[in-house]
């Protein structure tokens, strides 16, 4: 361990508004090692990955490559030094062939006459090495490949060598769409690559992969490194324990009775069914992107007509991604709040300004929106207060079911407490909440929790069975 690190990050700190995504992380990547990176949602895994690959500059901290501190670290600089990253999202052009994508990814080194032949040779060699017997034709259009094949091409692309050899490869959930055989091939290659002096950072929710492949395991929690040990010093139980916090009991109301009326049901193709009853607070847990948002949207679409106005709305929705499907940026706070209940505030089709203002004032007090004037732009509010407006928008409708899509992302702790209280009060009044959250604490506030993994409901926990340990165990394959 005396070799100079290929890349090192020292005391990196990243804040997004109120949230500390990285709170002083120091990590060094040396030749010949595979770092397994694990942690629950919001632990800081993707943030540190983004810092390392040059996509994000930390507000504080240093980055050094080959022992020399760097002033300027960017994606281009990182690529030039042989750092490659396989993202969870598709980073290929679906309209181009595998060969053509290879050409684009190696900008400087594949140009000129006969590039097609060279690009084909480069990607074929990489595919043959990582996934022997892959059966992918480099002349095939990426969009026509299966999801697993695309993932294979992305991975092979990262390990491909067209002039600048890969030295550090970051694999973020690389096996999420590969079957067991392909995953085994990949992990074999990772071991080979590491054995030949390369370095890999492996992020995965399948703990077996981490334990069997990594040489060193880094456990992250709350933006810090909670544990860092050689892989052989860990076992499954130890990892789950290291990811969790010291268990703290939360007061939980159990108003939603098991025998209350059923208000929502969703039949998923596989796994356990989804059922919600009147007055229940139901949590959707699991790692981000494992089907929770899709389930919420399916529930919403099924109950909310797109062609005619609903006389009595059946469901209402609180968005988590405010920029994508939450706020209306041209509008005032008041209009943002009232948009979901306009028919209730109107007479003969015209919105009654008085009624709207009164409704706004009522919710401004009730949910504590900190603004001098509800007529100000929604963008004048902090993220947490914008989120309160979205809560007020949903809660002020007459809908008996409230769907919440990780609504507390980037919200400060004070606001959270206020909203928790309102949710409990509304649930006591007979409203049903379906609450997807990536934060463990919030799940322990629920009456019942469905844990999602790989798009299906993997566990149905209720009452005292809801614990951080149980949720973690169900979220990570091979830990249950």
């Amino acid at each position: 361990m005396t070799a100079t690190p290929l890349l090192s990050v020292t005391d990196a700190r990243v804040r997004f508004g109120e949230v500390r995504a990285l709170d002083g992380v120091t990590l060094a990547i040396r030749q010949g090692e595979c770092i397994g990176l694990v942690g629950h949602n919001g632990a800081g895994k993707s943030t540190i990955v983004n810092v390392i690959n040059g996509g994000l500059t930390p507000q504080e901290g240093q980055i050094a490559a080959d022992g020399a501190p760097l002033m300027h670290w960017s994606v281009t600089e990182a690529r030039a030094r042989g750092l490659r990253c396989v993202f969870q999202e598709l980073s290929l052009c679906p309209n181009l062939t595998v060969t053509e994508n290879t050409r684009l990814m190696h900008r400087g080194s594949l140009g000129g006459w006969g590039w097609r032949g060279r690009a084909r040779a480069v990607i074929s060699a990489a595919l043959d090495t990582v996934f022997p017997g892959h059966g992918i034709n480099p002349a095939a259009t990426v969009g026509a490949l299966s999801i697993a094949q695309r993932q294979m091409v992305e991975i092979a692309m990262a390990f491909s060598d067209a002039g600048i050899a890969p030295r550090v490869v970051i694999l973020d959930e690389p096996t999420s769409s590969l079957d067991a055989g392909l995953a085994a091939q990949l992990l074999d290659h990772v071991r080979r690559f590491v054995g030949q002096g390369g370095a890999v950072i492996l992020v995965s929710h399948i703990l077996g992969e981490i334990l069997n492949t990594a040489t060193r395991i880094v456990v992250m929690k709350d933006g810090r490194i909670a544990a860092e040990r050689p892989a052989r010093a860990f076992d499954t139980a130890g990892l789950v324990a290291a990811m969790g916090s010291t268990a703290k009991a939360q007061a939980r109301g159990t108003q939603g009775g098991r025998d209350a009326a059923e208000v929502l049901r969703l039949t998923l193709p596989r796994g356990l069914p989804f059922v919600a009853r009147k007055g229940e607070v139901i949590g959707l847990a699991g790692l981000g992107g494992h089907g929770q948002t899709e389930a919420l949207v399916a529930l919403f679409e099924a109950a909310s007509p797109a062609w005619w106005p609903a006389r009595d709305p059946a469901v209402t929705f609180v968005a988590g991604d405010r920029r994508l499907n939450g706020t209306f940026d041209l509008w005032s706070i008041l209009r943002n709040m009232s948009v979901a209940s306009l028919p209730d505030l109107a007479r003969r089709g015209l919105v009654q300004a008085g009624a709207e203002a009164a409704r706004g004032a009522e919710w401004k007090d009730r949910i504590g929106i900190r603004t001098p004037d509800m007529g100000l732009s929604i963008l004048s509010l902090s993220g947490g207060n914008q989120q309160k407006v979205l809560f007020a928008r949903a809660l002020s409708t007459r809908a008996p079911v409230v769907l919440m899509d990780d609504p507390m992302r980037g919200v400060d702790i004070g606001t959270k407490q206020e909203v928790y209280d309102i949710i409990r009060a509304e649930a006591a009044g007979g409203r049903t909440f379906v609450w997807y959250s990536t934060e463990m604490d919030e799940m322990t506030l629920c009456d019942r929790v469905y844990v999602f993994r790989d798009g299906i409901i993997a566990a149905d926990l209720s009452g005292d069975a809801i614990s951080e340990h149980a949720i973690l165990a169900a979220s990570f394959a091979g830990a249950a």
Binding site: F317, L324, F328, V339, L350
Partner: protein, 312 residues
Amino acid sequence: MSLLRKPWIWSFVAAGLVWFVTIMATGGASTIGLTQATLTFAAFSVIVGTGQMFVITLGPGNIDLAVPATMTLAGTVALKYMDTQDALILPGLGIAIGIGIGVGFVNYALIKALRIPPIIATLAMSFIIQSAAIATNRGLRIKPPDAMADFTTGLTLGIPNVALVALGITGVAWVVLMRSVYGRQISAIGQSLPAARMAGLPVDGLRLATYVLCATLAAVCGFLLACFSGGAALNMGAEYLLMSIAVVIIGGTAVAGGDSNVPGIWGASLFMFLVVSMLNTYGFGAGVRLILTGLIIISVILLASGRQGATR
């Protein structure tokens, strides 16, 4: 100073300036005539422009290119049906409106069913409508009923009647846009379709209604224009394709949707007609006029994008 911050004020300022410059050229001789002509011709742009504005409010990519063909078809069919009889004026108007509603329905049906951009759906539709108009017209020029001809070319208190009609329509449009539930909801769709959907709005129904509204206003405008110009001509809608879009954008409505502007349509329509008459007065030909129109549209978009960039 709050008046100066309204985006629509500039189109009026520009219109006033051009009006003044044009009057200067003629030594003030044609002040009344120019003003009345301006109001009359602007009125037609205002009516189609209002419909187009509702569609553009729905957000990026929403545009109705079938507007000119709809105008022509509505004018042609209605005039043929009325056959110069005053008694059939109301049913004739009804037929025009019916054509508008029908076109709007088919437009949105194509957009939804074929999942194609509105621009292509309305374009394909405009071909079909144009053919229908040609087939109905057969080169005949049927005169409008006398009462309609008198009404559309007449004045009330010195103001052209069509301008009063346009004023009425924009008045209603303003109330709908600013105060009604529907106006609020289409503004929401224009700002973010996913957010509007997740706020529980019936987005498909609202978009359908908007395309129907636009086509209906185009049909009404075609009806009035055909009566005004003494008969329906097959190319009578042609110049309103670009004009309807131009007046909306120059009037300060956001191209990106969600923020529309009724008074601006008036300012822009007056401005566009006055630019034409000013250039005519000073002896410039169609070429300069077209170039200037194009440059005005492009600079307005560039300015608007700069404004957004500054506040972001």
